[in-house]
């Protein structure tokens, strides 16, 4: 395992638990869609209306947006901004930090209000923080175990010809 590349993985149960939490959040707020993005720019989950845009590009830009804003926070003497809000004419998005590793993005339109989204997202963030805490702790203890591709050297060689 390379130093600094703290890999993590989640199981189907984790995924189901995450999805259930996000479904509940969408039900309570009437927001259109919730996405979870890892801080390095990878999409973890999408719940609700399937987005019409490219979700991979969206995830990358979200992570960059959050990271850039973190640096802006430091410049003005804050350690970070744990939430961001982008308002559009019809569509808006609310972004919240989870355990400094993951970003929750809620996409919503005028069927709901910013106030309700902001209120309900707090509990969702707490729940997800706990869920991800377990995932990350397990990831650390699993780091010394053989990797997923252990023994797959030949297969990797073949893949690249």
């Amino acid at each position: 395992m390379a130093v600094g590349s703290a890999s993590w993985s989640f199981t189907e149960e984790d995924f189901n638990a995450i999805t259930a939490t996000l479904q509940r959040f969408l039900g309570e707020t009437n927001a259109r869609c919730a996405l979870l993005v890892d801080r390095s720019g990878q999409l973890i989950a999408t719940v609700g209306e399937q987005p019409t845009f490219d979700p991979t590009a969206f995830a990358t830009l979200t992570a960059a947006d959050f990271s850039a804003n973190d640096q802006l926070a430091k410049l003005i003497g804050e350690s970070d901004f744990n939430s961001l809000f982008h308002q559009g004419e019809k569509e808006s998005m609310y972004l919240a930090d989870i355990a400094r590793r993951v970003i929750l993005v809620a996409l919503f339109d005028n069927r709901t209000t910013l106030g309700l989204v902001r209120l309900k997202i707090k509990d969702t963030v707490l729940e997800l923080t706990k869920l991800f805490h377990d995932v990350f702790t397990r990831g650390k203890s699993a780091a010394s175990k053989p990797g997923l591709l252990s023994g797959a050297d030949d297969e990797i060689d073949q893949l690249f010809g």
Partner: protein, 225 residues
């Protein structure tokens, strides 16, 4: 930070193309974008200035095949090469799994190459990443130009090697991409050094672009093996 998603059976890895301004990092991505099948890649996202200089990053997701039933998805990023964009350059390194350093072979860009390499080490160190312990490939780009420095000179300046202290790894290891050369070797002084894998390239024509990408991807997957 490779992410394994058992639900969608995907392995996601992040590769960053680093190097001096105007060295050809974006050109590498553009070539990959143009050559791979549209159903195995996503959109090429460029956050660039009006004059096509990278402002924040370029981004291209590509699928390189399936291993053990898992789709291997690589997220390729470039950083802005210009010195004054260091703050945004550093952000892109977050969670990186593999690095490609795109060096500009032109003699007059040697100083810019060295500065970018030092900057890479510094920025990685700030995240607590050790460049010598992760997949790292150097690409000498623009080999077709008449003012390109000799390969040996570039190797000496940019890829002199780092010390191997682990005695188990102190054995001559051949460079699988360059017959007759070694990745790990002992210097006449007795010190063991390891060099980064390197490739010569002409990114505008695509020469060496896929060799570089394949090598770094393979190194990244091997860290999971």
């Amino acid at each position: 930070m490779s992410m394994i998603n058992y639900a969608s059976r995907e392995i996601n890895c992040k590769i960053v193309y680093y190097g001096p301004g105007l060295g050809g990092k974006t050109t590498n991505l553009e070539h990959v974008y143009g050559k791979v099948k549209p159903d195995t890649r996503g959109k090429l996202i460029s956050l660039a200035t009006e004059t096509e200089r990278t402002l924040f990053f370029d981004f291209l997701p590509v699928d390189l095949g399936t291993i053990r039933g898992f789709k291997t998805r690589f997220h390729l990023y470039t950083v802005p090469g210009q010195v004054y964009y260091n703050a945004s350059r550093k952000l892109i390194l977050k969670g990186v799994d593999g690095i490609v350093f795109v060096a500009d072979s032109q003699v007059e860009r040697m100083e810019a190459n060295l500065e970018a390499m030092q900057n890479l080490y510094d920025n990685m160190a700030e995240y607590g990443y050790d460049l010598t312990k992760m997949p790292f490939v150097i690409q000498y780009n623009k080999r077709d130009l008449p003012n390109a420095a000799p390969l040996a000179e570039l190797q000496q300046s940019l890829n002199p090697g780092w010390e191997v202290t682990d005695t188990a790894r102190q054995k001559v290891t051949a460079d699988q991409f360059h017959p007759g050369e070694n990745i790990i070797e002992q210097l006449p002084t007795g010190e063991w050094v390891e060099h980064a894998t390197y490739f010569e390239a002409v990114a505008v024509t695509g020469d060496g672009v896929f060799d570089t990408l394949k090598a770094v991807s393979k190194l990244v997957l091997k860290t999971l093996a």
